[in-house]
Amino acid sequence: MKHGFVIDLDRCIGCKGCQVACKQENGVALGANRTLVRTVGPMGSYPDVQMYFLPTPCQQCADPPCVQVCPTGACWQNREEGVVLIDREQCIGCRSCGEACPYQANTFNQELRVMDKCDTCIAARAQGELPACVRNCAGGALRFGDLDDPESEVSRLLASVPAEKVHSLRDFGNGPSIRYILRRDKWVDALPQELETAKGGRNG
């Protein structure tokens, strides 16, 4: 039972509601972000340009480098679902996991002096809710479900799209699990930290 995100980029309108939903749900500190919506483009020459948005939470890797480098065992992978979690009690704020992550997805909580990251709202899901970002996604871009179940919504969505339209972030052997669907625009193989955050926001 592998749960994960499938993100339909044709539906992402860059509104960043997911960032705020995440902050509310998880009490993420100012300056820290468990997810960021990036802008890819505009590329090309006016007026023939392409632009799309890329939400970049933790990729919930099959073989997560952050877990490997954590000196205290605070960063760990839950075996049932493969979700990568951080135990705040164990975290010493050394930021090794942030440096090990090829996507710089882990974020430092200045207030608590610990690392923070997307946990797919595992606590809320235990109460039967969807992750906050998925639940509130204005464009209906963010989907979450059981990727091992061929009948789940996410599996059926993936099956409905030709394989060449399904992408993932560059794989360094860590096996990023998020699947991005992009049908019309040309996929750009860029790492999140190389991209700007969505238009209308320089920092968050």
Binding site: D10, K16, G17, V20, M51, R202, N203
Partner: protein, 891 residues
């Protein structure tokens, strides 16, 4: 009124607007909000309410734990937002528990602008204001009182118009109004008689059922639903695109909707009408319009007297249920014939042509429309609008050939002197295609709940309470009579009266809104007006720059503290208070309390306004919001309390609610099709009523008014913006770029600039600029820049992008609440309205001033304005302050 007890600490917090509370601890804010320290049972409840962070009213589930709101999420029962919520709405908790909320009424204790205050009871504050108003009324007349609203998140606008009518002043105004939505409401009301297709105003409801609507092409003209209303309209357009609906986006900026469109037309701001006229010309020239529909259901075959510009009438109707009988040119008999409503198969009315009838030269409306658009070839439009002709043609062809289609016109064209013409031209494009009341069309008259007597908001305005001689004093509204559709005055004319005392003095100003100085055009030009006021009252949820100039500051409720009836498609929702804090008051109730005070001080009409018998359908003033809403909900047998418990619920099944082809339905009074809600019952593409409006104020003014200086035009026409880059003037050389503006998804108008979650995302306004222009200005991506117009200058951060028309720049509105307690009060640093234009030329019909489509220059700045907050941690002082609920204020 509760006891006026407060601690020294509370008093000090109240005694400086925007006085910064000690920094709250950051992360534990939510745990603290949950009120863990409270004695008693642990109680959690979900309140089904509706957001008001903008005007979309999205359904919300608010989790309230021990009296404190701890979580917000979308309500999936909402047919428009479908359980989604955007960044603005999700920030509701940070707005509600903001440490700088206006908590109690405050009365100025020092010099105006000195920012010294003392706490007052509501009773004292109301008495202070009422006495001030009565004094101004006695000295100068009731018209010397102006009331205003706007600036975002308006809970209810008619309550202000109502108070003004009852008090006796014709002068309420909004910086929106003629600059936002009114031009579209006016044009679609007059030409069609149904609801306009503005997505950001929660219309175009046909589109919210993507599995059912047959629409194939959607044109988004000057509208960006992904910015203005992400959770409702933004999601809806996403759903439609996913289903295969094609989109055309007309916008100088590569918005998210433009990025995902099939054809993007990055138009020069202010030139939209030229492009629309070219669309009309192309559609007529290539005979792409629905000829049969145009002949039978529009007034374009009717003959117009070229001299008088009025339609020929064979007979004026004496029966209010029957329209006048108009004259067509019958091709069978080659002569003029009366066309009995709705149609006569024996006649063959000509669409095109010039004829002589009884010695008078006449043309069909169609002929006049054709002559009007004739100059606007694709090439001409391409030149005027800075577009590519082939691309324009591709957009038109998609719209005409891949149908059903529809055109959603947004706020962009409302913000310049072409405002009403743009709305008329947009309506013309859709109506020529027959895109009305058929499945897939945006223009519909779906059934309504019947709970609202007024459009969108429930408060009856009591228009008859304003005496005729007072109505005639409405500032700027004789020249711009279209303002009477919303009973509103003309902002620039009111400002001028405030400054010059002409045509009469205006000496008191009550404003409920976000930052007035962030919202009005040419902000700095309002300072002399402010200085001339005998009384300024500002009511809002938090202090704004405008508060610094006020004599009385009143604490308004946040949306999580308020009640409102909300109609969403075929369902009724309730916004209902999730909590109540401090001594805040519902804004709709405030005006009732103020009227009561004025009545006590001897204002006769205010006294009558509390008499149910006298007020009748206009409703006597209410002592509570419960009482007010129950008046309406009793129509369906519910008290407001019962309504809130039941909501949301369907008032009609969806298929009955969605009534297509209303115009074809038989009117039992006449036995004929009911037609459209216009004087002729036809779609009035030749808008003769514009002439009547300009001469008399009919149909919107209750009393006949003297004529405007010239007739309004029955057909749309293009007016090159006053500050034009086309003409090679000295001005265009000095200010070479055309500025446009527009929303980002994090703020509604002037709101929410004090919300940590949103400011850390968007701390300062961006100036979008094309690389070529940036190179010419010596500006690089990320640079701080000065943006200057003839009127002033302000700062922004350059965003160098290929996603904008190279001759254009775009800057979002902004102001800086962190600078309230400084000499600038935060409204000059990053305020696009330091640049905008509040003087003539105005739109003739409604007086629109120029917020977009004027000339600016951009230069590199040394750095950010002094003292502005930019880093996420800067916003810590604004993190939520745990606050216990309080009872509602009773006055």
């Amino acid at each position: 009124m509760q006891a006026n007890t407060f601690s020294q600490a509370e008093f000090l917090a109240a005694a400086g607007i925007g006085g910064l509370c000690p920094a709250q601890d950051d992360t534990p804010a939510f745990a603290a909000l949950e009120g863990e320290g409270r004695a008693g049972a642990d109680e959690t409840r979900i309140v089904k309410t509706c957001c008001r962070a903008c005007i979309a009213n999205c359904g919300v589930l608010a989790t309230v734990r021990n009296g404190r709101v701890v979580k917000l999420q979308g309500n999936p029962e909402d047919p428009m937002s479908k359980g989604r919520m955007c960044a603005k709405g999700l920030s509701g908790i940070q707005a509600l528990y903001h440490p700088n909320r206006n908590k109690y009424p405050l009365i100025r204790a020092g010099e105006r602008g000195e920012n010294k205050w003392r706490r007052a009871s509501w009773d004292e504050a109301l008495e202070y204001i009422a006495k001030g108003l009565m004094k101004v009324r006695e000295q100068y007349g009731a018209e010397a009182v102006a009331c205003s609203t706007g600036g975002g998140g308006n809970p209810e606008i008619w309550s202000i118009a109502r108070f003004c009518n009852i008090f006796g002043t014709p002068n309420w105004f909004e910086p929106g109004c003629a600059q936002c939505y009114l031009p579209r409401v006016l044009a679609y009301t007059m030409m069609y008689g149904g609801v306009d297709p503005s997505i950001a105003d929660s219309n175009a409801l046909e589109l919210y059922f993507p599995d059912e609507t047959p629409i194939k092409t959607l044109v988004l003209w000057g509208t960006a639903p992904s910015y203005s209303c992400p959770a409702s309209g933004g999601g809806m357009v996403s759903d439609l695109r996913a289903k295969g609906v094609k989109t055309v986006v007309v916008d100088p900026r590569m918005t998210p909707d433009a990025a995902k469109s099939d054809v993007w037309l990055p138009i020069r701001p202010g030139s939209d009408v030229a492009l629309m006229l070219a669309w009309i010309r192309y559609i007529l020239e290539h005979k792409l319009f629905d000829r049969d529909f145009v002949r039978k259901w529009t007034n374009l075959p009717y003959l117009v007297d070229v001299e008088s510009k009025m339609l020929l009438r064979a007979e004026k109707s004496q029966d209010p249920d029957e329209p006048d009988t108009f004259v067509v040119w019958d091709q069978k008999t080659a002569g003029p014939r009366p066309l009995p409503y709705p149609w006569d198969d024996a006649l063959d009315p000509a669409l095109e042509g010039t004829f002589t009838v009884d010695g008078r030269r006449c043309k069909t409306g169609f002929q006049l429309l054709w002559e009007r658009v004739q100059a606007y070839t694709l090439e001409k439009a391409a030149e005027l609008c800075w577009l590519d002709a082939e691309r324009i043609e591709r957009a038109i062809r998609l719209f005409t050939d891949n149908s059903p289609s529809g055109l959603a016109i947004g706020v962009a064209t409302d913000q310049g002197a072409n405002s009403v013409q743009a709305a008329m031209a947009a309506a013309t494009i859709d109506l020529l295609m027959g895109n009305v009341e058929r499945p897939g069309a945006l223009l519909q008259r779906f059934r309504t709940s019947g709970l609202f007597d007024m459009p969108n908001y429930p408060v009856p305005i009591a228009a008859r309470m304003l005496p005729e001689e007072q109505l005639k004093k409405r500032l700027g509204a004789n020249e711009h009579k279209g303002l009477h559709i919303w009973f509103a005055g003309h902002p620039s004319s009111i400002r001028d009266a405030m400054i010059t005392g002409k045509p009469y003095p205006v000496k008191a100003w009550i404003d409920r809104s976000g930052n007035k100085l962030g919202a009005v055009a040419d902000s700095q030009s309002w300072l002399p007006a402010i200085e001339n006021m005998d009384l300024i009252v500002h009511m809002y949820t938090t202090p704004t720059s405008f508060s610094a100039y006020a004599d009385v500051l009143l604490p308004a409720e946040e949306w999580l503290e308020t009640d409102m009836m909300v109609e969403t498609c075929n369902k009724l929702f309730a916004r209902q208070a999730a909590t109540h804090l401090w001594e805040t008051m519902d804004e709709t109730l405030f005006w009732s309390r103020l009227a009561k005070k004025c009545a006590e001080l001897g204002h006769e009409r205010c006294r009558l306004a509390f008499d149910p018998e006298f007020m009748g359908k206009d409703l006597a003033y209410w002592d509570s919001m419960d009482e007010f809403f129950t008046h309406f909900t009793s129509r369906i047998g519910l008290t407001w309390k019962q309504f809130k418990e039941k909501a949301p619920f369907e008032y009609l099944p969806r298929d009955q609610w969605r009534s297509y082809y209303v115009y074809r339905q038989t009117d039992p009074k006449t036995g004929k099709p009911g037609g459209f809600a216009t004087p002729s019952k036809k779609l009035e593409l030749y808008l003769e009523s514009m002439i009547t409006l300009s001469r008399t104020g009919k149909p919107f003014s209750l009393y006949e008014l003297p004529p405007a200086s010239r007739d309004y035009d029955p057909l749309p026409y293009y007016f090159e913006p006053y500050e034009s880059p086309i003409a090679s003037t000295e001005l265009a050389k000095e200010y070479p770029l055309v500025l446009t503006s527009g929303r980002v998804p994090f703020y509604h108008h002037g709101t929410l600039r004090n919300i940590p979650w949103l400011r850390e995302i968007y701390p300062a306004p961006e100036l979008w600029i094309h690389p070529t222009a940036a190179g010419q200005c010596g500006v690089a991506d990320g640079d701080w820049v000065w943006v200057a117009s003839q009127r002033g200058r302000t700062q922004a951060i350059a965003r160098v992008t290929e996603g904008i028309n190279p001759g254009t720049v775009c800057m979002e509105r902004f102001w800086n609440p962190e600078k309230l307690n400084t000499p600038t009060h935060g409204w000059r640093e990053m305020n696009v309205n330091m640049l905008t234009k509040a003087d003539a030329p105005f739109n003739d019909v409604v007086g629109t001033y120029t917020l977009r489509g004027f000339l600016v220059k951009v230069t590199k700045a040394e750095g950010p304005p002094e003292g502005v907050w930019l880093k996420p941690e800067d916003f810590k002082p604004w993190l939520p302050q745990p606050t216990e609920p309080t009872p509602e204020v009773r006055v």
